[in-house]
């Protein structure tokens, strides 16, 4: 029988302070840091929480469901003696859970095969296998320019009102590794998004049958904000089980990380911690890393975790702490651009500031095509030049451009309209993408193609 404490003293925001009576006699209660806590309110509701700070005389508890309805009198607190765990099983596939891993689809409770600590443990860098398998998403702006590989963590940086959900759904729908049929699963965690946005994904998964191989954790905007802090951890724990114990290739979509970080800030503020930039806690980097770094591949294991966090940048500002720290942890980023969206281009991916750090070992001969790296480098360089020419033409008028600059100007327009633009259900395989790249490069004289090896120019160039 676990001891019950009736000594709740302060409640402030999501934080509750419990006094520990044993301290008066100089003794210690058997309570550990990060232990799970169960709280029974006066009305008999059960809330859960976690020990954030434990001293001899008091315990600071973060309440996951929020502290609504909790009072200092009559609340009963139990320390469960274990950390937050998730009961995992392959039966989770095809199910919808809430942000605290309780079934949300009226289905039965999951009978756990195993309990796993939701915080996970860091993968030993020596055990990591380097991600090198190209994932074809069928989207030229990603496959051609910033390809995704298995085990990578590649966030989508977006802004409010942009088409990130549609892009993420398209990736989830179309992603595959060339020439292989393997066990594949999608783990989807929604944090603080609206019903409509969540429903878009659920409907999309249902329509395409993807729901059969998906696990969904849904914490909506009107659900407890503090529970959001555990939602991605539950999702990643589930993903780790599927990937490293059941040998599946798991794509994890976390949407929207901005709301997650705001919840974290709420807890930090309630603890009166010294804030870092823009009020976010100083440990935001470490906290985000403990999520993102759970992606990867492990030597000798079949499965993998590929992570696709989605975040909306406040004011489209890439230097805001959330996208900034995310970018320092993830292996690149896909940036959704308001400018392209305004031009009516879908997917509105701005390839220039987008980046995939792990592409080099995932592309090339035997993986995609021998000319892939050179073509994408050249397209980058030419598109950047085209945009420069465009800026110039805005100031000086097109007549002031040199002939070559005019070609570049034309190039960049066609690049946006033909290469980047594509249908939401259109799957362009990597050959189609690269061929389209060559079609555009043919507009330029061969002497301008400095980033492309001579043999590829001989083989593919026909300008």
């Amino acid at each position: 029988m676990l001891k019950e404490y009736l000594t709740v003293r302060n409640i402030s925001g999501p934080i509750m302070l419990v006094e520990l009576p044993a301290a008066r006699e100089g003794k210690f209660e058997d309570i550990k840091y990060a232990e799970l806590v169960e709280i029974k309110t006066q009305k008999g509701d059960i809330l859960r929480g976690k020990v954030l700070d434990i001293s001899q005389d008091k315990a600071l508890v973060q309440v996951f469901e929020g502290t609504v309805g909790l009072g200092t009198e009559g609340s009963r607190v139990k320390f469960l003696g274990r950390s937050q765990e998730l009961g995992v099983s392959e039966d989770m596939i095809g199910r919808v859970f809430d942000g605290g891993a309780r079934p949300r689809d009226n289905g039965p409770q999951i009978i756990a095969k195993k309990f796993m600590d939701v915080n996970g443990s860091p993968i030993n860098p020596c055990s990591r296998a380097y991600p090198s398998e190209f994932i074809q998403t069928g989207i030229s702006a990603i496959d051609g320019m910033n390809p995704l590989v298995r085990g990578q963590k590649l966030p989508i940086f977006s802004g409010s009102g942009l088409a990130h959900s549609r892009i993420a759904a398209q990736i989830a729908r179309q992603a595959k590794v060339l020439g292989k049929v393997e066990k594949f699963a999608v783990v989807f965690a929604a944090m603080g998004i609206t019903f409509e946005e969540a429903n878009f994904f659920i409907q999309d998964f249902k329509d395409t049958g993807a729901i059969e191989r998906a696990v969904l954790f849904i914490n909506l905007a009107d659900d407890a904000a503090i529970e959001r802090i555990s939602t991605p951890r539950l999702a990643l724990t589930c993903a780790e089980y599927l990937a490293f114990e059941l040998d599946m290739h798991v794509l994890v979509i976390l949407i929207d990380m901005t709301f997650y970080c705001e919840s974290l800030r709420e807890v930090s503020a309630a603890r009166k911690e010294i804030p870092g930039r823009r009020g976010y806690p100083g440990y935001l980097y470490t906290d985000l890393a403990s999520l993102y770094e759970r992606a990867g591949r492990i030597k000798g294991k079949e499965g993998s975790i590929t992570l696709l966090p989605v975040l909306t940048m406040p004011e489209d500002d890439k230097t805001h702490p959330i996208p900034d720290l995310t970018g320092y942890i993830t292996e690149g980023q896909i940036i959704v651009s308001r400018e392209l969206q305004r031009k009516g281009i879908y997917p509105a991916i701005d390839v220039l500031p987008s980046l995939s750090r792990l592409k080099d070992k995932g592309i090339g001969k035997d993986k995609t095509r021998e000319d892939h790296a050179d073509v994408s480098n050249q397209l980058f360089a030419c598109y950047a030049k085209g945009k420069e020419a465009k800026e110039l033409s805005i100031i000086l008028g097109e007549a002031a451009l040199s002939d070559l600059d005019k070609v570049y100007l034309n190039f960049s327009d066609r690049f946006e309209n033909e290469f980047i633009r594509q249908g939401e259900y259109e799957i362009r395989d990597i050959h189609a993408t690269l061929n389209m790249g060559w079609k555009l490069l043919n507009m330029l004289p061969s002497s301008e193609l400095k980033r492309i090896g001579l043999k590829f120019i001989k083989a593919y160039y026909s300008g």
Partner: protein
């Protein structure tokens, strides 16, 4: 006396009472799990401990074991080729012990206790020896001769030294000191936060070649120098540091991956054993020590990793080697100390960083340098540091960047505009600087007496270009004179054909100083002649059609073994002169 006991746990910070005998920066073992920690603050009998491992499941009432020793690293044969975490635990052995995920409370020695090393004595019995004198040597790898030195603080008469195969703990020599006879083995302990002493510091005057053209030619670092490379994410800091680790001509490389990405660290760990040193043809791992504390590993160990790395680097410097340390990234280290400082409820300085941030950074970089090592033979060693800085949003007014710039001599400023156009290394030539130009001037004369002038000329053209582009933006390129247009063309050629370098291309990834000189010479010689031809009335647009220009553009793909090919290009340039 009462046993030390935990009274509070808050993340990586643990407070224990009954610690009146403890001293600052002593190592402690926390709880029965024996998690490793370090004392960072003392208040009467309370000790504030930063714990290097995850503290979940630890609570008040559990014991703390004081060691009475500061956090130290083990120095001796076996370091080279190792992969450590932030507090020198070998990650490969941890993996053997606990599997793919790192669990807690593992205590493993930094150096292999079983392996035997063949010691060849160099000192003679009867000699008077002092700190830093070479007792003997061990061929640790093909690339590295490990010198066994008399430990710091010891002086006396050598009364015994043995040749043979020894483990690091076995006695190899005996020295009669004032305090009696001391056994010496090949294992030394050194506290990480204390720099190892040298006899005298010297001015760095030799270039540390890195094979990267923009660095060696325009912004060189000297052996024993310090450099920083700040930039926003995606601007290529890590790739540049990996290139240094691969190609710089140091004898020992210490690479500290401090709070960085797991997958990138895996790349380092997997590729280094396979990469060959361009000079000796041996695997690069034979001269490399890697410290990997990725961003999801405990934050306090991240703080320590930089010190662990620099202490190991100093140890090899003391043998008289040129050592280069890469720290990626020092911002993560600074953030780790910010996190600890916050938990200690210290009054914050700028951006929440502790007030002692800049003195810590200065202290760290000051451990670099070219120096006469301890010991009678006056060997000279050098320790160069290259630190990446990751300021938020690439903003150079960040306190870590500013504190770093105050102490380092070389600044390689990364620019995301260049990175977006995939111009790598994305080092912006207009904002970067090196204060070692004069130091290495003499040395560069060995490559060619005119190299220094070529460098200046290249820089001048690049600066002129930025001015001309400003004008062109206002009035259009077409209204510039032919001379100015030529300057733009040549500057473009310097940027695209010389400064741009592809780290993933087999040949282009490394260029020797000789090749760099020849490439730059070809570009600038052509410029000189074209300029003369324009002045004599030729049209620029005809001259730009010369096939020679495309040849120069492909110079970067000339093999190091076939540098003769440049003669042909030079001939073609000279031939132009005659037309």
């Amino acid at each position: 006396m009462k046993e030390p006991i935990i009274i509070r746990v808050s993340g990586p910070l643990v407070v224990a009472k009954n610690c009146s005998v403890a001293r600052m920066y002593d190592m402690v073992a926390v709880s029965k799990k024996k998690l490793i920690g370090e004392i960072v603050e003392l208040k009467q009998d309370l000790a504030y401990i930063q714990v290097y491992e995850e503290t979940a499941g630890i609570g008040p009432g559990e014991p703390v074991y004081l060691s009475g020793q500061p956090l130290s690293v083990e120095l001796g044969p076996g370091l080279i080729g190792s992969i450590y975490d932030g507090i020198q635990r070998p990650l490969d052995l941890i993996r053997d012990k606990t599997g793919d995920f790192i669990s807690r409370g593992i205590s493993l020695p930094g150096l292999n206790r079983q392996k035997r090393w063949h010691l060849q004595p160099l000192a003679k019995v009867g000699e008077n020896v002092g700190a830093g004198d070479v007792l003997g040597q061990i061929q640790e790898t093909t690339l590295l001769l490990h010198k066994i030195l008399v430990p710091v603080g010891m002086r006396g008469k050598l009364i015994e030294i043995k040749e043979g195969d020894f483990t690091v703990e076995e006695t190899v020599a005996r020295i009669e000191t004032e305090k009696g006879v001391v056994d010496v083995n090949c294992l030394q302990l050194w506290p990480v936060r204390k720099s190892r002493p040298v006899k005298e510091k010297l001015m760095p005057n030799e270039i540390l070649t890195t094979g990267q053209r923009v660095i060696d030619t325009l912004f060189p670092i000297a052996k024993g120098g310090t450099a920083c490379i700040p930039g926003p994410f995606g601007s290529g800091k890590t790739v540049v540091l990996h290139e240094f680790a691969k190609w710089s001509d140091a004898q020992v490389i210490v690479y500290v991956a401090c709070g960085e990405r797991g997958n990138e660290t895996a790349d380092l760990l997997l590729s280094f054993p396979e990469l060959k040193d361009p000079r000796s043809g041996r695997p690069l791992m034979e001269r490399t020590v890697i410290i990997a504390n990725t961003s999801n590993m405990p934050v306090a160990a991240r703080e320590a990793s930089i010190y662990t790395g620099i202490t190991i680097a100093e140890y090899f410097r003391d043998m008289g080697y040129s050592v280069a340390l890469m720290a990626d990234s020092t911002s993560r280290w600074a953030e780790a100390s910010r996190e600890m400082s916050g938990r200690l409820e210290e009054m914050p300085g700028e951006e929440g960083y502790p007030a002692y941030l800049s003195s810590r950074i200065a202290e760290f970089y000051e451990r670099a340098g070219k120096a006469v090592c301890l010991g009678q033979d006056n060997r000279v060693g050098a320790l160069s540091i290259m630190g990446a800085v990751s300021p938020p949003g690439g903003d150079l007014s960040d306190p870590v960047v500013q504190a770093t710039l105050r102490v380092v001599k070389v600044f390689w400023g990364l620019d995301d505009k260049l990175a977006n156009a995939r111009h790598f290394p994305a080092i912006n030539w207009l904002i970067s600087y090196s204060l070692y130009h004069d130091n290495v001037k003499e040395y560069l004369k060995n490559v060619s007496p005119e190299f220094v002038n070529l460098k200046k000329e290249a820089m001048r053209l690049l600066e002129e270009e930025s001015g001309l582009l400003e004008i062109a933006r206002l009035v259009g390129v077409e209204s510039l004179s032919d001379e100015d247009k030529l300057t733009l063309e040549t500057a473009k050629s310097i940027r695209e054909d010389f400064l741009h370098q592809n780290a993933f291309h087999d040949i282009d990834t490394y260029a020797s100083l000789k090749k760099q000189y020849l490439m730059l010479k070809a570009i600038l010689d052509l410029h000189k002649i074209l300029l003369a031809l324009i002045k004599s009335g030729r049209e620029l647009k005809d001259l730009l059609k010369l096939p020679l220009r495309e040849k120069i553009a492909k110079c970067k793909y000339i093999l190091e073994t076939q540098l003769d090919e440049f003669q042909e290009i030079n001939k073609e340039i000279d031939a132009l002169n005659l037309t």
